[in-house]
């Protein structure tokens, strides 16, 4: 008898795979974008089950909320909603599928390549960390302590990206 957590996990894992397959096969870019949002939501549920609830919330807010709205905005701005003939021909599709399955076979060993036991945390360590430091605190602590410099560099990267996007989008400076 599988636990209810396992049932929820496999339901959303399956839904994520189905939604991503729909995302790459729909001809309409808008439908693709909405299936991708569905995939992102399912992956957010998986994050939450894997003891990363804050990352799950970020996934919904930043990915599904901000980035995908940007995509939908550009699709609608360019009026691509009725685009057809977006998929490549039969031969190219077959080659793509074969290459994809080959990649999957290459990646197969990863699913039973566990880290060495010496560096694995004791069972329930992350759970107790979430309880004691809070959902946000357990991520924010190391982020503003050990990883402070990369965090500041990220702000520099985002500023550069904003400036770059404005320069690219303006016709004349």
């Amino acid at each position: 008898m599988p636990s209810i957590l396992a049932v929820v996990y496999w339901a959303f894992a399956g839904l994520a795979v189905i939604a991503s397959a729909m995302c790459i096969t729909r001809r309409n870019p808008l439908a693709s974008a909405l299936w991708l949002v569905q995939t992102l939501f399912c992956v957010a549920v998986l994050f939450t089950i894997l003891h990363a609830p804050f990352i799950g919330v970020l996934q919904v807010l930043v990915y599904a909320g901000a980035i995908m709205v940007l995509f939908l905005f550009v699709i609608m701005l360019l009026n691509l909603g009725r685009a057809s003939g977006d998929l490549k021909g039969l031969v190219a599709s077959a080659v793509a599928t074969v290459l994809g399955i080959g990649l999957l076979l290459d990646l197969r060993p990863i699913s039973h390549a566990g880290p060495p036991d010496a560096i694995v945390l004791p069972a329930g360590a992350l759970d107790s960390m979430l309880v004691h430091q809070g959902v946000v605190g357990s991520v924010a602590g190391p982020l503003f302590d050990t990883y402070l410099v990369p965090f500041e560099i990220t702000s520099l990267l985002l500023t550069a990206a904003i400036v770059g996007a404005v320069v690219l989008a303006k016709r004349k400076l």
Partner: protein, 98 residues
């Protein structure tokens, strides 16, 4: 608890993203497939973070920041190309072809 299963799911999502990049011609949809691949890698990070500590979750945070920056700049580039060529179909964007 689900480490092996999650790694398998993320491998499947990554492969589907790769197939999407090879399968589509619309630059924006290809871009969305790249986002799907980034998300599969995030899932791997979170799966290992469950066993090895929260550092993996912080890397997901950085990947999301890079993905946001990439989406902003990439979509601006696609808009600029569209203004120039009136299409986002990659079959017709072949300036480098001799």
């Amino acid at each position: 608890m689900f480490t092996g299963a999650t790694l398998a799911v993320s491998a499947v999502l990554f492969a589907i993203g790769t197939i999407g990049v090879l399968l589509r011609r619309n630059a924006i949809v290809i871009f969305m497939c790249v986002e799907l691949m980034l998300n599969a890698v995030n899932l791997t990070f979170v799966a290992f973070a469950e066993r090895l500590g929260v550092a993996g979750q912080i890397f997901v945070f950085f990947v999301m920041a890079v993905a946001a920056a990439e989406a902003a700049v990439g979509l601006a580039i696609i808009l600029a190309v569209y203004r120039h060529k009136e299409t986002v179909d990659l079959q017709h964007i072949n300036l480098l072809k001799g």
